[in-house]
């Protein structure tokens, strides 16, 4: 797949194929070009060049960060998908797949048809390919990368077919390539014409041309190691008779959960997403799925989560089989939380979150999250409870077990100043008696009640966040005040006299202590 990175990226972007896009990766001396679109290539951009150099040629290049991990993941997925053509599929480099099609081709017609089929199906998926079939993997690689487009299938006489290809087709290290070229041995044919022993004493590296030639010509075996198919933990149950009564899925669940939990235990996994699939007699399926906040393999918990949804599955003409599958599992070591078997607080909260999420829908359950801002109303936010826990877990492990399972703010920097327990959603304007310009407040009127201030602390001055607020935003002076009755409030004065950002300062009530 010579254009994998660009094509994958093109699938998920608004840019057209005619835009000069380069995908870049970080290099030691600035950004390097990883892949280019056709339009960019026409403007002189080449993979491997530095972005600045390419920009010197054409400043209109658009640089987008590449995603090599994502590309690799795609290749891995494609490798599984390629299982439709061959039982043995191997990833080859960053952008290639090797299929062992021994004895397979006739299923698709012949080798040419097979190659055409592969090409077509990849093309449908939006990926261009060069497909070559040859008796050895090395020869197929050579043809795929260097062969003439019309002659990519080779069924016999590999040597002749490869003879005209450059030695680079043998996949030698660049240094060896260059040496061979300097020696005048520029094609595989010329190389093959040299006496074997002469070559052998001149190329002693592991990756030497003699070996490479042997592999290409089939004188040396090169077995494939197929991509191991990682199957998700899954338990299945077949019924002798199709079951139509609504209790059936729940009963099946009872039988399936212990089986699945055993598998999970063996593999040290806990589920994050779990699906019960009911197979109806007519060939259709019904699925009930749930997600958990932290990895779990606690049978009771899983049962409670799924039971209601399972009961609601529509049996249609009846289920003849069920499968319980952990679509998303994470590592979970076995651990003993305490001597008594009670689950820890963390687990309790997590379970509550799970159950609520199942009942109300995951987007309805949110948890508060501290944010780093000096402005009180921006110092907290809400995050989706189930999903936000992933980050929490990472910080948790590093910071030792606390009961709270909130994502932490950056460690090391603490917020200053006391904050009230209750913050009004919207600060309320109040009338205040104070000594101008910056004196402490003496008395204020809030919601038509007059409060004489007995004690006051402050001010805590919080300036606007200049990078996001307009330049007319005013600073606030917060005071903690206590009235004669002992009630404590958090009030602030917005602005200073003469700050050039408005008239007289105004006062607001922002929070209540205790």
């Amino acid at each position: 797949m010579p254009h994998l990175a660009v094509e994958r990226w093109a699938r998920s972007s608004d840019f057209g194929p005619d835009d000069p896009i380069v995908l870049t990766v970080e290099g030691t001396h600035g950004l390097l070009i990883h892949a280019v679109t056709k339009a960019a290539a026409e403007r002189g951009a080449r993979a491997g060049a530095r972005l600045t150099d390419a920009r010197a040629l054409d400043p209109s290049l658009v640089a987008v960060p590449a995603d090599p991990q994502g590309d690799a993941a795609l290749v891995q997925r494609l490798a599984r998908w390629a299982g439709r053509w061959s039982p043995l599929v191997e990833m080859d480099g960053e952008d290639g797949l090797r299929l062992d099609v021994t004895g397979v081709a006739h299923l698709f017609g012949d080798e040419w048809d097979l190659a055409a089929d592969v090409q077509t199906r990849f093309a449908v998926a939006g990926l261009s390919t060069r497909v070559a079939i040859a008796p050895t993997a090395a020869a197929a690689w050579a043809l795929a990368h260097y062969g003439h487009a019309s002659a990519l299938v080779c069924t016999k006489d590999t040597g002749a077919k490869l003879a005209d290809l450059p030695v680079a087709a043998l996949r030698l290290p660049p240094e060896a390539n260059r040496t061979l070229e300097r020696l005048g041995l520029k094609t595989i044919g010329l190389l093959a014409g040299i006496e074997r022993r002469s070559l052998a004493r001149r190329f002693r590296e592991v990756d030497n041309p003699v070996d490479a030639l042997d592999r290409a010509l089939g004188r040396k075996p090169e077995p494939l190691t197929a991509v191991p198919a990682e199957r998700p933990p899954r338990a299945a149950l077949k019924l002798e008779e199709p079951a139509t009564h609504p209790e059936a899925p729940v009963q099946a669940l009872d039988r399936l959960i212990p089986d699945l939990v055993r598998q999970l235990q063996q593999r040290h996994l806990g589920v994050r997403r779990l699906a019960l699939i009911g197979f109806r007699v007519d060939g259709s399926t019904a699925i009930a799925s749930v997600a958990t906040a932290i990895p779990s393999r606690e049978p009771k918990h899983l049962q409670r989560l799924l039971a209601d949804k399972a009961a609601a599955l529509d049996p249609g003409f009846g289920f003849d089989a069920f499968a319980l599958q952990a679509d998303w599992a994470e590592g979970l070591a076995s651990a003993q939380e305490s001597l008594v078997g009670d689950p820890s607080g963390e687990q309790e909260v997590a379970r509550l979150v799970d159950r609520l999420s199942v009942q109300l829908g995951p987007e309805k359950v949110r948890r508060p999250q501290p944010l780093e801002s000096h402005l009180p109303e921006r110092a907290s936010g809400w995050a989706n409870a189930v999903s936000s826990l992933r980050g929490a877990k990472a910080t948790k492990q590093s910071s030792g077990g606390d009961l709270d399972c909130f994502p932490r703010i950056k460690s090391g920097v603490a917020m200053t100043g006391a904050r009230p327990q209750r913050l009004l959603d919207r600060p309320e304007a109040i009338a205040v008696v104070y000594a101008t310009p910056e004196g402490v407040p003496r008395r204020f009127v809030w919601r038509r009640a007059v409060h004489d201030i007995a004690r006051v602390e402050g001010p805590e001055r919080i300036a606007p966040e200049w990078w996001r607020q307009p330049s007319t935003a005013r600073l606030r002076d917060y005071y903690r005040v206590e009235d004669q009755a002992g009630r404590r409030y958090w009030i602030y004065r917005e602005g200073l006299i003469g700050d050039g950002r408005g008239g007289l300062p105004e006062w607001y009530m922002h929070g209540l202590f205790g």
């Binding site: 950004l31 403007r43 002189g44 600045t52 920009r55 010197a56 040629l57 054409d58 400043p59 658009v62 640089a63 450059p166 260059r178 040496t179 070229e181 300097r182 020696l183 005048g184 041995l185 520029k186 010329l190 040299i194 006496e195 022993r197 002469s198 004493r201 001149r202 190329f203 002693r204 944010l371 780093e372 801002s373 000096h374 703010i409 950056k410 920097v413 603490a414 917020m415 200053t416 100043g417 006391a418 602390e457 402050g458 001010p459 805590e460 001055r461 919080i462 300036a463 200049w466 990078w467 996001r468 307009p470 600073l475 002076d477 917060y478 903690r480």
Partner: protein, 1093 residues
């Protein structure tokens, strides 16, 4: 050093608004002040701080940067300028205790503080400083401390008693009212803790900036420091803008409950009795022998030198000059300075082989320097302006810069360390400042702009150190500047420009003292091994009047010395810089032809084009040649008038003022030697003094302001002043404006006459060598690489064109260096890419070799080196071509170097039974391989193989261009050697193409450039269709490009392999990108000589 001050700083000069001195003592003194030298913490420079302090009514202000004294001199000079009293100190951040402010009470205390910081800095790699409380306790004598509590006071009581136990004089604890909300209770608590330990609280505002509106910049630098964006910085930022300088009244109001805290600051400040003025400089003593005073010794050496140069008949002119100079030196007591420099120069001369050196800059104005052998410009034949070097009014120590051979400068440096000791000698620092590009990049990153947008913003600044980031340019780049976020970013970047970023090591400025240097200034480890450098830069040193000697490196001196050695060896003549025959007409003939490849300074294309126009016929013409192709004269549009006058097309006239305002010849005196056109820096400055009647203070201000790009506003004022005054005095406004423009150009790239004269001397010497001994000259150039403007391929080509036979690299004939063989030039093994000296020495020692195997078995050359040699086709003397040698070399096996293995190895595989038949290598492929392995080919030029192809299309060769008449359309093709787009050429791009017959100079106008940018920038083999443009008079030929084609693919026809780029070193990587991204000393635009610092 020439006046290439670059970032020379602003001096605070009092203006009418400032309260006049003496200033009454203020009730409060700010002691917790961070300047930008608390890197990425302080956000206001010393001038801003001091000006604000002055207006707020302070009479003194402290400076306390983190573990450094780097910023104190700036603070000192700003304070002195404003009439404030600077309090010099620093903040010590300790590894095992809370921070402290340390203020030396007296000179000894300062010495100890400086030694303490040196100790901490020497312990760490670079930049850092590691100190413990125990270290501080050891050096505490004579230093007053203020304890600096952290945010959390819970442990502070214990910490403070620990500090008090260790530091017996500790009496103060800093307290700040920073609107944290709990300030009252916090300060109350601190007060209690302090009292308990017998201390008192002391008010400070923890000043990070001079005014509240600087807070955004401070937030930005915090983000840069912590590597976060502004949106995610959160609690790393301060919640408000209160860390600014507040008036004493305001501080009194905030500390109304604790008046003793405010009073403590005054008492603390009054207890300090130290000023940087006390750092009286003492010259090293060992340069003077016993029994003589320095002046006597200097006079002795001077006359001795004079007699050596002229025998008994010293020219009268020189005699009077020497007497005059010596008198002035005695009066100003600079004798020991001259002796110190003389000592270093004498050391370089005493070595065997000696190290060539030559003084540059204003020292060349001194006959004493000539007699001491420091400079080489003969005072008998040139007019000296000694007052430019030393003047009675300025009383500044003179500044002598000496260039040494670049390969051997380290020997000189280590000699200085050895002779004076590491505690008495150090290299000056260079403060690296934010430049427009780095500022925009860093601020853009902090503001969350994408790499693309910051790159686009940065690219709007093409090259110059401009403070204003031009809006129009940003619009060109497709950025919407009305966007408030972008606007903010630009504004912050503007503020950041010119802020110090970190300290680096100066290229060669040495400080020498009599007392240990560490008592004057902290010394830290340099990035290079065996280098130590001080915290102050050259302006600081100048400010305090400390002796500085620039020990610089110059590649051309290396080359010249090598040439001298070669000539002595092969021709039996010994030449020296000072003995080269003067004014040989043939040398000037050669230069007039523009035949100057390899010659110092005048080898760039711009200079090569200038030579035939200027037609130098005597030494002084070379001085002008060197100075004229410079941004200053070009920006001031002085080049063409000069050329016209020189060729007689325009009469030589001198602008003059109205008779009522002054004598009509006031400019004739200044501009007489340059035909009425100001070319040198001092002329332009002198015009400001004489024609615009600037006071010396104003002139100084002008020079400094030009160099500092943070002060654009200031420049406008000065411009109005200068042009205005000249016009009122009756000068042509146009002329006045041009003079000013020229000063503007000089500000950054000034070239004083004496400096040009020093360089012109090297121009002459190298030209003479090239003319008289072309083989030795080429050999010396090749052996001094990398240096200069051209790659070895062009040097070799030029040598061959001058009739030098060049022989290929060969294992049996070549040494490491290139050598001369019966007048022919033998390329050395150093030309082989990737071959190490060690391996080459083994090749040489094992000679003669009869087979490839010999190299390994006899010389012990490593196999990979043999393979490289084979690839470089260096086995021809044993009748092996590249391919055969490579085939043999591949068969060698690298065995451990033990006798037993060596013996076993010979037999292990036996002789080869079958001789492999390798296809023969075509010549074209050999050529490509030559370029790949030695960057040049003696076999043929690559274009030769393509000639047939191009001849059919009626392409001409470079050697035919002179025969084609002006204005004719031609097509030609060639390898791209150099691409240049000098900033002063307004978008014109110059390309040098090379084919097998010679080189052609292309001019690409901006419109063609824009439409064919990719080809201009990317092509390695270029075909060009254009028009011949000839200057009838000077014979300069240009090919003005109409249409360009990229024929790089044609190179593929030569070989399957890749033809390496033939661009010379100075292209591609360097010259293309705007100079601002590079070091200031590389920022010369036109002559891209790399020899110059």
């Amino acid at each position: 050093m020439p006046e290439k001050v670059g970032f020379s700083r602003l001096r605070l000069v009092r203006d009418a608004e400032m309260p006049p001195p003496p200033i009454a003592p203020s009730a409060y003194v700010e002691l917790g002040v961070a300047t930008p030298f608390s890197f990425l913490r302080g956000a206001s420079d010393s001038i801003e701080l001091v000006t604000t302090a002055l207006l707020l009514g302070y009479d003194a202000i402290g400076v306390a940067d983190r573990n450094t004294l780097a910023g104190v001199v700036r603070m000192h000079s700003a304070c002195t300028g404003a009439g404030l009293r600077p309090l010099i100190g620093c903040r010590l951040d300790l590894t095992d205790a809370p921070s402290l402010l340390a203020y030396p009470i007296d000179r000894d205390g300062y010495g100890r503080l400086s030694r303490l910081l040196s100790l901490g800095k020497m312990r760490t790699e670079k930049g850092e400083c590691e100190l413990s409380l125990a270290d501080v306790a050891e050096y505490q004598q004579g230093i007053a401390f203020i304890a600096w509590p952290k945010g959390d006071l819970d442990d502070y009581e214990r910490e403070l008693s620990r500090l008090c136990d260790a530091l017996t004089s500790l009496r103060h604890v800093a307290a700040s009212w920073l609107y944290r909300g709990d300030d009252n209770s916090r300060i109350e608590r601190l007060d209690r803790i302090a009292r308990k330990n017998g201390c008192s609280i002391l008010a400070t505002n923890d000043v990070h900036y001079h005014a509240p509106d600087r807070r955004p910049l401070q937030d930005v630098v915090t983000c840069i420091r912590e590597k976060v964006t502004i949106a995610t910085a959160g609690y790393l930022l301060n919640p408000n803008a209160e860390r600014h300088l507040k008036s004493p009244e305001e501080m009194a109001r905030l500390f109304a409950r604790w008046p003793h805290a405010v009073k403590a600051t005054r008492e603390f400040a009054d207890g300090l009795n130290f000023s940087l003025d006390e750092l009286r400089y003492e010259y090293p003593k060992e340069t003077v022998p016993d029994g003589r005073s320095p002046q006597q010794h200097l006079e002795h050496l001077t006359w001795q030198g004079a007699h050596q140069r002229w025998g008994t008949s010293i020219p009268y002119k020189v005699l009077t000059q020497l007497n005059h100079e010596l008198k002035l030196i005695e009066k100003l007591d600079f004798a020991r300075y001259f002796l110190t420099v003389h000592d270093i120069v004498a050391f370089a001369r005493s070595l065997d082989p000696l190290i060539l050196c030559q003084g540059r800059g204003s020292a060349a104005n001194s006959a004493v320097c000539y007699c001491l052998g420091i400079t080489a410009v003969d005072p008998a034949t040139s007019d000296l302006l000694f007052e430019r070097f030393i003047s009675e009014e300025r009383r500044e120590p003179p500044d002598i810069d000496v260039d040494f051979e670049h390969e051997r400068r380290e020997e000189v440096i280590q000699h200085i360390y050895d002779k004076y000791g590491r505690d008495r000698a150090g290299i000056a620092a260079t403060v690296i400042h934010y430049r427009p590009r780095s500022a925009i990049r860093e601020v853009g990153k902090v503001m969350g702009l994408s790499e693309d947008v910051t790159a686009a913003l940065a690219s709007t600044i093409w090259g110059h150190m401009e403070a204003e980031l031009k809006d129009a340019r940003a619009n060109d780049a497709g950025l919407d500047l009305s966007d408030p976020h972008l606007k903010r970013t630009m504004k912050l970047a503007e503020q950041l420009i010119g802020m110090p970023r970190h300290l680096s090591q100066h290229v060669g400025g040495f400080i020498l003292t009599e007392r240990p240097l560490t008592e004057t200034v902290p010394i830290g480890n340099g990035a290079m091994e065996d280098r130590t450098f001080i915290e102050w830069d050259k302006d600081d040193i100048e400010e305090l009047g400390i002796l500085k000697i620039d020990v610089l490196a110059l590649g051309m001196l290396t080359c010249i010395r090598k040439c001298f050695d070669l000539i002595e060896e092969h021709h039996g003549e010994r030449w020296e810089l000072a003995t080269i025959p003067q004014e040989v007409p043939e040398v000037y003939d050669m230069l007039c032809r523009g035949d100057s490849l390899g010659v110092f300074q005048v080898e760039s294309r711009a200079q090569m084009n200038m030579l035939p126009r200027l037609k130098p016929r005597k030494f002084y013409d070379l001085v002008i040649e060197v100075a004229i192709v410079r941004p200053g004269p070009i920006q001031g549009d002085m080049v063409h008038p000069y050329l016209k006058r020189r060729s007689g097309k325009e009469p030589v006239t001198f602008p003059c003022p109205d008779p009522e305002h002054g004598p009509p010849d006031e400019l004739e005196k200044i501009l007489g030697r340059t035909l009425g056109v100001p070319i040198f820096q001092e002329q332009a400055m002198k015009i400001a003094l004489d024609a615009a009647k600037f006071s010396s203070e104003e002139a100084n201000q002008l020079r400094k302001a030009m160099a500092t790009f943070r002060s654009r506003g200031n420049i406008e004022v000065l411009q109005d002043k200068m042009v205005g005054r000249m016009v009122t005095r009756g000068y042509d406004p146009d002329f006045a404006q041009r003079c000013f423009d020229q000063i503007k150009g000089f500000g950054e790239y000034g070239f004083p006459e004496s400096h040009a004269a020093s360089f012109a001397h090297l121009v002459y010497v190298s030209s003479w060598l090239k003319w008289k001994y072309p083989a030795a000259f080429a050999c010396g150039l090749l052996n001094s690489q990398p240096m200069g403007f051209y790659a070895p391929a062009q040097i070799v080509r030029d040598a061959r064109e001058h009739g030098v036979e060049v022989r290929e690299v060969d294992v049996n004939h070549s040494d490491w260096d290139c050598t001369l063989e019966d007048g022919a030039l033998r390329l050395g093994l150093r030309q082989v890419e990737g071959l190490h000296r060690e391996a080459a020495d083994k090749v040489v020692s094992g000679r003669p070799h009869e087979s490839v195997e010999d190299l390994r078995s006899r010389g012990g050359t490593p196999v990979h080196a043999i393979q490289r040699l084979a690839a470089a086709d260096a086995f021809r003397s044993m009748k092996l071509d590249r391919r055969a040698a490579l085939w043999d070399a591949r068969a060698l096996k690298q065995a451990p170097d033990l006798p037993l293995f060596a013996a076993a190895d010979v037999r292990d595989e036996g002789a080869e039974a079958v001789i492999a038949k390798l296809p023969a290598m075509p010549l074209a492929e050999h050529v490509v391989n030559d370029y790949q392995t030695i960057r040049l080919s003696l076999k043929a030029h690559p274009m030769r193989f393509l000639r047939e192809h191009y001849a059919v299309q009626k392409f001409v060769t470079a050697d035919r261009l002179p025969n084609i008449r002006d204005g004719k359309r031609v097509s030609m093709s060639g390898l791209v050697l150099i691409r240049q787009r000098p900033g002063s050429a307004k978008g014109v791009c110059f390309i040098t193409l090379e084919d097998e017959t010679g080189v052609a100079n292309l001019v690409v106008w901006p419109d063609v450039f824009e439409t064919q940018r990719k080809i201009v920038m990317g092509a390695r083999l270029m075909a060009v269709h254009g028009i011949i443009q000839k200057d009838a008079e000077d014979g300069v030929i240009h090919l003005v490009a109409r249409k360009l084609e990229d024929h790089s693919h044609m190179l593929r026809h030569l070989s399957e392999e890749i033809m390496p780029s033939t661009l010379s070193q100075s292209d591609a990587a360097g010259s293309w990108r705007a100079p601002a991204a590079r070091h200031p000393r590389d920022a010369e635009i036109i002559p891209k000589s790399r020899d110059f610092h």
